[in-house]
Subunit: 220 residues, 2 copies
DNA sequence: CCATGCAGTTAACAACTGTTCTCTGGAATT
DNA sequence: AATTCCAGAGAACAGTTGTTAACTGCATGG
């Protein structure tokens, strides 16, 4: 049943991906609930009706984007939180990892930040579900750490949630830093952007350090 | 100049407020970037062109909503963070205050959460500015607390930012708890909603407590 | 009391939207 | 080699959108 050996399915997935990419681009200056079906197909260069061959509606396109943006992130998160080495060094590594991810996939990060509380329910639900999975995974990693000895299940989950939220906050912070260059176009003022990036990393590091300190003294 | 004694100005502000209220209502199931001018005027019961007498565009309506939603919150925040009484009791009071605010003005909270990273730049900027003011105010209150003795300016600001972010996270958490009743309409299942509320308050309290612990041990 | 200002109306416009039905060409199956 | 399948095109539909211009009526200030 359908081993799909084909040139056919390949082309289909190619246009499907083109639709998703075009949508992601258009979503940089609007939200999903205002994204039109025709707008997307026009950007790709296909007929409006072709859209229906891939998604029943723009909302479903959004759900697919959620999985593209967050689905491949699970292993990365697991290895980052897993107990190892010195705490301060792990924090620095986590912050750098987030910064790198935002620099590599800014549109994905913006999409998640924007649609997490956005106007399209199925997309909100998909994001919430992925983040809940993240929290569960972080929780199981935290449980392995000797620091978590004696912690209740509820406490572990609350800390995992705090980490996940903080990850998103840090992500948007780096995203804002990336947008600094757009405001000043006089000369290529990469200095100000680098500055904003550095300040974002600094703030994120301090906040994660404070959380980590609170974690160590939780059972006092 | 312009003591505006009039019945005239009163009626104008009345329709202006009606436009804002209608917009806020419509924004419960979409985002601002998809909110149409005609949609709003239709909901109020005035001609589409009447809109221009009050706002140049929907984006400006959004900026006005930001000020309505956050402008009156400054004194409340200042008194909540100000140093007094026991720490755990202050946390409980803060969480209850947020819960009460969300219950009293759910549409405002949803609007801020949604448009903070939404698709309309002027609105994003307005929210960011208000939140920055919050952070500054929280910072000056934190500085008064003896616990903050020896803290650098950057550390105080980072903690203030953490508190502000946590306030928003807690707000959306309570908002999600409010929406639980919509999912199950069989009977008036207020039990599940109360449960969700309780769990949200519990999580928020634990998280703030952990942050507060990290704060006390920051200078170790 | 009369002239002005201005909140709100009416009508019309070109442009755009999502969705339907019908059709086509080429890959996939037999 | 003949047939089926199906991604995409094309045309047409009924609604919707933002914005314009010219208007009406009433509270205001002289």
């Amino acid at each position: 049943m359908s081993h799909t050996p084909g040139v056919r399915q390949a082309q289909k997935q190619k246009t499907r991906q083109a639709l998703m990419d075009a949508a992601l681009g258009l979503l940089e200056e609007q939200s999903l609930s205002s994204l039109g079906l025709r707008e997307v197909t026009r950007a790709v260069g296909v007929a409006p009706t072709a859209f229906y061959r891939h998604f029943p509606s723009v909302a479903d396109l959004g759900v697919a984007l959620v999985e593209e943006a967050l689905g491949s992130l699970h292993p990365m998160i697991r290895t980052t939180v897993s107990p190892a080495e010195d705490s301060d060094e792990r924090i620095a590594r986590a912050v750098e990892l987030i910064a790198g991810h935002v620099a590599a996939h800014p549109a994905h990060v913006r999409f998640i930040a924007r649609e997490r509380h956005g106007g399209v329910q199925p997309v909100r639900d998909a994001i919430r579900e992925q983040l809940a999975r993240f929290a569960q995974e972080v929780k199981t990693e935290l449980a392995k750490d000797p620091v978590s000895a004696g912690w209740s299940d509820a406490d572990l989950l609350m800390l995992a949630g705090l980490y996940v939220d903080q990850m998103l906050v840090t992500g948007s912070l780096f995203l804002e830093a990336l947008e600094v260059q757009d405001d000043q176009e006089a000369q290529d003022d990469h200095g100000a952007q680098k500055e904003a990036r550095r300040r974002a990393a600094d703030t994120a590091t301090r906040q994660m350090r404070l959380i980590s300190i609170g974690r160590r003294h939780w059972l006092d």
